[in-house]
C-alpha cells in the first residue's frame, strides 16, 4: 500500500482508544466523592499546586539532545550514500564527527553532563 494508507493507522489508534474509553464510560459505575478527586499522594492533603518548577538540568539535556539529533539527521543521508561515494564521504564524516565530538567534550568539561 502507498503512504496515504497511513491515515488508516491514525484512525485505528483513535478508534481503538475512543471505543475503549466510551465502553468503559458506559459500563463502569460512577459516584462522585470529594476524596476521590484529590491527587493521589500518600493520603495527606497535598501542599500547593503540583505545577512546580523543576530542575534546570532537564533543560540542558534537552538542548544537548537538539544538537545531536540534528547531527543524526545529517548522518542519515550520509549513511545511505556512504558506499557509493567512497573515500571522500569517509573523510568528510570523520571531520564532521570530530567537530561534534569536540562539542561533546566541551559540554563534558563545562560539567553540563553532570547531574547534581
Amino acid at each position: 500500500m502507498s503512504s496515504e494508507a497511513l491515515i488508516i493507522f491514525f484512525l485505528g489508534g483513535v478508534v481503538m482508544v475512543g471505543a475503549g474509553i466510551l465502553a468503559s464510560n458506559l459500563l463502569a459505575p460512577k459516584s462522585s466523592n470529594l476524596q476521590k478527586a484529590e491527587p493521589y499522594e500518600c493520603g495527606v492533603p497535598t501542599q500547593g499546586t503540583s505545577w512546580i518548577q523543576f530542575r534546570v538540568g532537564y533543560y540542558l539535556f534537552a538542548i544537548l539532545f537538539l544538537i545531536f539529533d540534528v547531527e543524526t539527521v545529517f548522518i542519515f543521508p550520509w549513511a545511505v550514500a556512504m558506499k557509493k561515494v567512497g573515500l571522500s564521504a569517509f573523510i568528510e564524516i570523520l571531520l564532521f564527527l570530530i567537530i561534534l565530538g569536540l562539542g561533546l567534550l566541551y559540554a563534558w568539561k563545562k560539567k553540563a553532563l553532570k547531574w547534581e
Binding site: I8, S24, K30, F68, T72
Partner: protein, 361 residues
C-alpha cells in the same frame, strides 16, 4: 500452503476477490478497513500474550508459579484483567487539565499504531513499505514521549510530573543511540527501506556479516531500546517504590490499560526493528554450504522466523527487567552521554572504514 511462504498470493487473492464484486473505490475502502481491523486485532492479541508472558517469565525468574487460577495455566488471566479494568470507574483529579488528561492515551496509542505500520512481518506481508523506513520509525516512535509528558503534566500530581520529566529526559537521550546504532547498519545496506534491508540479508544476517561493529551496534541497540521503552532497569519514570506509578499515577480503568498496552506495543515495535535490521527479519538462518540444514531452515515459514526473532529480543528485555536493579537518573544520563554516545560515534566511523575497505561479506 504456498501463501504461508509468500503472503503476496494471499493479498492478491483478496484483492481480486473484492474487485470482482465491488467498484474500485469501494475496494480501496474495504481493503483499508481490513488492514485497520487486522492491526487492531494484532494489538489486542499482543497485549494479551505479552502481559501473560511477562508475568510467567518473571515468575520463573523469581521461582514462583505466576498466574495459575484463571483458565488452564492462568492463560485467561489477562482477559479477566481487561474486563476488570473495563468495569473500573474512570477517575479524574479535580485540578487536572481534563482535555490534555484525556488526550494523552490517544497520543500514545496513535504513535504506536503509526510506527507498527512500517514493520515487515513476512514476505509480502508489509502494510506500508516506506523508502525512508528507518527514518520514519525513528520519527514516529519518538512521538510517544509527547503523550507521556502530557499525561504527567495534566494529572496535576507531583509524582506524575517528576515521572514524566525523567521519562522525557531518558527517551530523548536514548533515541540518539537507537538511531545511530541503526545507521551503523545502514552504512552497509545503502538503503533505509526496510524491505531492501531484509532482502540484503538473504545470504547472512548483518550481525554476522558486519563483524565486530555490527555486534557492538546490536548491543547498543538492545540497551538503548530497553531504555526508550521505559522498561527496567531503566524504568525510573514509573519507579513504583518512589513515585507510585510515575506519569500514569492518576489514571484508572481503561485509560491506564492503554498506557500499559502502549508499553508492550512499543516493546514489540523496537524488537521488530531490531530483528529486521540486525537479525535478518523474516529471512531464515543459513550456514554456508550445508544444503540439508538450509533446506530444513527454509521449510520454516518466514512469519514464524520473524515472530521467533521478535520473541527472542522481547524475552531478553524481560530478562533484563527482572535481573538488573534500577538505575538512578544521573547514572542513566551518564551511561548514555559519556559511554554509549561516544562509543556509538566511533563505531559508526569504524563501520564506514570497514565498508570502505570491503572488509565485510
Amino acid at each position: 500452503m504456498k501463501w504461508l511462504y509468500d503472503f503476496s498470493y494471499l493479498t492478491r487473492t483478496i484483492h481480486e476477490g473484492l474487485s470482482e464484486r465491488f467498484e474500485p473505490g469501494t475496494v480501496v475502502i474495504l481493503e483499508m478497513l481490513l488492514v485497520g481491523l487486522t492491526f487492531m486485532l494484532l494489538f489486542a492479541v499482543l497485549g494479551l500474550v505479552l502481559v501473560y508472558a511477562e508475568r510467567k517469565v518473571s515468575a520463573v525468574i523469581q521461582q514462583r508459579l505466576g498466574p495459575m487460577r484463571v483458565g488452564k495455566w492462568g492463560t485467561a488471566q489477562t482477559l479477566a484483567d481487561v474486563i476488570k479494568l473495563l468495569l473500573k470507574e474512570p477517575l479524574i483529579n479535580k485540578d487536572a487539565d481534563r482535555f490534555l488528561f484525556n488526550l494523552a492515551p490517544f497520543v500514545i496509542m496513535i504513535a504506536a499504531f503509526m510506527a507498527i505500520a512500517a514493520l515487515p512481518f513476512a514476505k509480502g506481508l508489509h502494510a506500508i513499505d516506506f523508502d525512508i523506513g528507518i527514518l520514519y520509525v525513528a520519527a514516529v516512535s519518538s512521538l510517544g514521549v509527547i503523550g507521556i509528558l502530557l499525561a504527567g503534566w495534566s494529572s496535576n500530581n507531583k509524582y506524575s510530573l517528576i515521572g514524566a520529566m525523567r521519562s522525557g529526559a531518558q527517551i530523548i537521550s536514548y533515541e540518539l543511540s537507537v538511531a545511530l546504532s541503526l545507521l551503523t547498519i545502514v552504512v552497509l545496506t545503502g538503503s533505509l527501506q526496510l524491505s531492501v534491508i531484509v532482502e540484503s540479508q538473504a545470504d547472512g544476517w548483518w550481525i554476522f556479516k558486519g563483524h565486530i561493529p555490527a555486534m557492538i551496534a546490536f548491543l547498543i541497540f538492545l540497551i538503548a531500546s530497553t531504555a526508550e521503552t521505559n522498561r527496567g532497569p531503566f524504568d525510573l519514570a514509573e519507579a513504583e517504590s518512589e513515585l507510585t506509578a510515575g506519569f500514569h499515577t492518576e489514571y484508572s480503568g481503561l485509560k491506564f490499560a492503554f498506557f500499559f498496552l502502549a508499553e508492550f506495543a512499543n516493546m514489540f515495535i523496537v524488537a521488530g526493528i531490531g530483528a529486521t535490521v540486525f537479525l535478518g527479519g523474516w529471512m531464515p538462518f543459513h550456514i554456508g554450504t550445508w544444503e540439508g540444514f538450509n533446506a530444513v531452515m527454509d521449510f520454516i515459514p518466514p512469519i514464524v522466523w520473524f515472530f521467533g526473532k521478535v520473541g527472542f529480543i522481547i524475552f531478553l528485555m524481560m530478562w533484563f527487567r527482572w535481573t538488573f536493579p534500577r538505575l538512578r537518573i544521573d547514572q542513566l544520563l551518564t551511561l548514555e552521554w559519556k559511554y554509549l554516545l561516544p562509543i556509538n560515534l566511533m563505531n559508526i566511523v569504524l563501520m564506514a572504514f570497514l565498508s570502505l575497505m570491503g572488509w565485510h561479506f
